[in-house]
Symmetry: C4
Subunit: 225 residues, 4 copies
């Protein structure tokens, strides 16, 4: 309605300036914007306790909110790292890559909502459903990111070179581990919701820790060489 999809049925040009080509810098800047805003909005979900409540007691009761802030910050950050690793292999976008990216960001943009849902229900009657919804939101974002990567791997015209194609294939295969853990979290959510949340905590922490560990090994290898 207010926009068309820049779709040209007659167009078959694949050059960088062809009608189907869309710029990579806009793709990246818009994505970075949404990632940054979603990650920063998370803090708005932690309500500042009213002034007449003793502070330490109030903060103790806010622990689920802090947990949610931490977990979702790490997950969105992890998606952002993967996304950056993928776009460095691209030289331009096209309407399909843009549209897949929008669907990815749609699910990322919901995370502040599903995070708050999960942590405010923790320990309550509906904690299972809430932990399930959080896991499903995460899984959908993850699957769309994989779809984007698979799509790019099949469109050499969008990539910087032929090696990029193989690298993307490898990234896609490695992602099955994290998608598998995500499915386990969803399965646990209904039978043992707090175990599911603990799993989210462990996996999100791994997303921040592994890059640091990986690097120490890398440095040992460099010294050995």
């Amino acid at each position: 309605m207010s926009a068309d999809s820049n779709h040209h049925p007659q167009g078959s040009t694949t050059g960088d300036r062809g009608p189907r080509s869309l710029p990579l810098d806009r793709f990246n800047a818009f994505s970075d914007g949404v990632f940054a805003i979603a990650i920063t909005l998370l803090v708005l979900e932690i309500a500042v306790p009213p002034e007449d409540v003793p502070l330490l007691a109030a903060l103790r009761e806010l622990w689920p909110e802090f947990l949610g802030y931490y977990i979702s910050f790490a997950f969105i950050g992890g998606i952002w790292i993967t996304h950056s690793g993928v776009t460095k292999l691209m030289k331009r976008g096209d309407p399909a890559a843009y549209a897949l990216n929008l669907v990815l960001l749609l699910f990322v943009g919901l995370l502040p909502f599903t995070t708050t849902l999960m942590v405010t229900r923790l320990g309550g009657e509906d904690e299972g459903v809430a932990a399930l919804l959080y896991g499903v939101d995460l899984l959908l974002a993850s699957l769309v990111l994989s779809a984007l990567i698979v799509y790019l791997a099949r469109e050499p015209a969008l990539l910087v070179d032929n090696i990029a194609e193989g690298t993307l294939g490898r990234v896609t295969r490695q992602r099955w581990a994290s998608i598998g853990l995500n499915v386990v979290g969803i399965a646990l959510a209904l039978v043992a919701p707090q175990v599911a949340v603990a799993l989210y905590l462990v996996v999100s922490t791994m997303l921040l820790i592994i890059p640091l560990l990986g690097l120490r090994r890398h440095r040992r290898e460099s010294r050995a060489a």
Copy 2:
């Protein structure tokens, strides 16, 4: 008052560094920022249900909010895709392009408000007026985007080459279809508001789907060639 328009009555230079020239990277970065924020603020309009309400029942009642999130995410995303396709043909901006862009973003920035208005009134007495206002906001954004494209098509000094001029003319003509659907939505809003919302849903979904379909055909063509 707090700013002038960088307007130089005596200036007639059209070079890239002339007084009327404004940089394209700032034009893009600011636009991407506003698009990203408007699209991410949409989630703040979905109120997290209070803890004492059964979760599934509460979520069922929130369906209009989710619908609004989806529709406006897709519309703003569609405007962003078109905007990116247009700016890839530019080599620089000028005060008029900057000002038109600001007016476009003014209407985009209102969409989180008009979206919430439309979905919270859905099924109520004023649903017609609310659906109308949403359609009008969308139409104004769409018309200003077309005005920006028409303006650019007439200013070769802002474009990368002569082919860009023709491409912009084609984009403008293709946009009449989406503007027409938008007008139909507005006309329906007062007589059959829920049909208008359904139309918004269909059109916004098309904005995400068409780029993906278009691509499959494109690939078949590539193979055939």
Copy 3:
């Protein structure tokens, strides 16, 4: 405390990679981010009317909020246009330019607050004080922007070439008109607050209109030449 100012007393290098040099792309990206967020937060200040209030009546009562949205959108947009026109003449930043820019953004960041203050008090007892505070916030932003421009004009090492120096001097002089109108608005605020608001409305509209008018003349000139 949590950061130092990257200040090196012993440093006197002025090369692009010297210790005092700071990158222009970060300067621009951060500024565009704050401008974009401040301009988009404005819409959050328009409260969606509750569902049991007739919509049209509720919207009529919201006219001051829409007015504030429009005026501040145009003012922030105008500052952004000037800021872009200035940074296109820069080749890099330094700690002083970064610090001046931060103070500018501090006052821009307050505009959503002072805007809401002004429009919610309109017609009430304190409308004069509120219109005054709005004008003062705008004036401080404007003066710091001028200070940044004056500073840059005296630091050729930060500029792309010698012509830039002269251009910045001209921009500074032209800005006195808008600063003068701003002072008139502040003076009017206490004696005739609604006239002050009307002046803000006229000036902010001019910020959007002048670039478009200026361009028509420019095109006539081009044809004549």
Copy 4:
């Protein structure tokens, strides 16, 4: 879960396009986004006083909120300046730099929350705990920023040249002064909270003033030379 860490145990390539390499532009754009949003969200913590309260009296009572806005704006701005000065020495990122940066931004993203906590409790029973938490948040951000700098100084493959390594070492040593002041603030928080807040005020002001003073000396030196 929803993302992997782009971690390749078998990878030991250090080239710019190797599997461990991550782009600098995404690193910067995302960081600028989070800094810009955190700094602009601060204004949302200043509640607009209700319309039936006399304005000047209401604003007088809001002075702690304005103080918090100012202090945190300056601290986040100072971190941003240091961060920009560091990334100008980088030519690319890697998963560890990305992960350290995420942890830095996690603590920066909490500042709007801890700021409001500190200023709303000022003068109350819990002002000590609140000032302590603010100082701890700031200290953690500061230490992680130092960790990032130390890490970069040891990874020449990420830097533009060999001089960058030495510059980063110097920056790290200079940062101990600000970290020391931060620790003093934390120590004071429990015994004399208002002195701690006054110290935050002085240090944050220095972050904005020193770059400007430093520059005047620099100019005198230039003239003398």
